[in-house]
Amino acid sequence: MMRATLRAEARKARYQRTTYGIVLAASALAAVSAVSLIATTQLPRRQQLPMALTDASTMHLVVSSTTGGYVFALVLGILVMTTEFRHGTAIATYLAQPDRRTVMLAKMVVAAALGAILQFLSTALGMIASGLYVQRYAHAVLPFDAYTRVMAGSVLVGAVLGIMGVAVGSLLRNQVLAIVVSLLWLQLVEGLLVVFADWIGRWSIRGAITSVLDIAVQVRTPQAAIDTSNGLGPWASTLLLLGYAAVLALIALVTSLRRDVA
């Protein structure tokens, strides 16, 4: 029955227009981020960041900025779960497949695939857009060797965040609450914690994501607010991120086994 549940979950994602809207939004963000970063280097001297397109670190940063849509992978994962409770379709889901572990696993597999696809498409679009835009500047040197590794890290992060989204959605169930809490945690709380104790950064989810994306690029650009020099390193951060996803998934599973559906 796992196959049937997987097929049903895939159909839900395929039929809903929200899925395509989120992928488009992530792609637009990735393209705009990378292009605007290039443009920033060409501002009048007093306004521009101390970066140059001839600098390898700057160009690595441009490439890694194409992965910025990863927050949308988390949102997609949250929607995979919370849409069920928002519209009352969770009842049909659990009646069709009473084994809640199977339902949870199928949702995580589909959300991981969606997150990976989202990151692949948005990162690819960001790379294409930035690659085309940078052609305006003859002195810019594109770090082609970084592309494959950045893409691999991006797809991995997308898949893991998709799983984490399902877990968060299962725990909170309220769609708006789940999205707001997740974004606040990633964008605000972890950032504030780092202000008080910078060692927390390397153990935070956002720090781990930054380091995983650093599999490809050894960015040392504190001015651009991405300083991974104190991170755990890409492979340890990958394990840390997978560990967070596993713990969240386990808590979500245990909780879902105990809670009434309706």
Binding site: M1, A8, Q16, G88, L95, Q97, P98, D260, V261
Partner: protein
């Protein structure tokens, strides 16, 4: 076709200090239409949710052919359900909603067109459910319940929102399904309609089972409404 025997054995369900169902015991047999009747808050829906594994009993059991819903082989196909709280994605068409369920219970997509025809929604099948009336949503819920050609059908207030013609049609459908040997359990508070539909009754009030058995056996020479009101602290008898 042989439907399942549904059994409650000392089922109690509490939500905090509130007892939704207290010590419910009884059998629902195949080949007849059984009505689970009671006023709002009687515990009917909770009893059905416990039977379907959507809510965990505080004590006691609710079983289908001797096992919990989760242990029934191909439960999604064998047990058709029409629940009041069951929703559909409003942004998807009826066809898309039913195709998702068809995939989940592992039946062929061809069944989607079949059940939409049964509930007379073929002409509106491509419209988004958001634009459906209450009656159309209810017919779609019935279509979803029939998708797997189930041997057992469990319906919670299935006549809600249906017009008189559709109510008569539903009555005929339930009688036909029961005559084929299937198990049909209907929860409702529409007594006049139930009197024309059911063979057996469970009458519940405030979480307690007040009476159960054959309709004539429970009501005697009185109407179902009179019996119901008397049993649920009314003044009819």
């Amino acid at each position: 076709m042989q439907g399942a025997t549904l059994r409650y054995d000392g089922l109690t369900k509490r939500y905090g200090d509130t007892v939704a169902v207290r010590d419910l015991t009884g059998d629902i047999r195949p080949g007849v239409v059984t009505g689970m009747l009671g006023p709002n808050g009687a515990g009917k829906s909770t009893a059905l949710k416990c039977l379907l594994g959507l809510a965990a009993p505080t004590s006691g059991t609710a079983t289908i052919d001797g096992v919990a819903y989760g242990a029934v082989a191909h439960a999604g196909r064998r047990i058709g359900t029409v629940l009041e709280t069951r929703g559909f994605h409003p942004g998807l068409s009826a066809v898309a909603n039913l195709r998702v369920i068809a995939a989940a219970i592992d039946v062929d997509d061809a069944n989607v067109a079949r059940v939409l025809e049964v509930v007379s929604l073929t002409g509106d099948a491509g419209r988004r459910v958001r634009g459906y009336s209450l009656g159309m949503r209810q017919r779609l819920a019935i279509a979803a319940g029939l998708l797997g050609d189930p041997d057992t059908l469990i319906l919670d207030e299935p006549a809600n929102g249906l017009d008189p013609h559709a109510i008569v049609w539903l009555r005929g459908l339930l009688r036909t399904l029961a005559a084929e040997g299937r198990t049909v359990l209907v929860s409702s508070h529409q007594l006049a309609e139930m009197e024309q539909t059911v063979d057996d009754v469970f009458i519940m009030d405030h979480g307690d089972l007040r009476a159960q058995g054959g309709l004539r056996e429970v009501c005697g020479s009185h109407s179902l409404e009179e019996t119901f009101l008397a049993l649920t602290e009314g003044t009819g008898r």
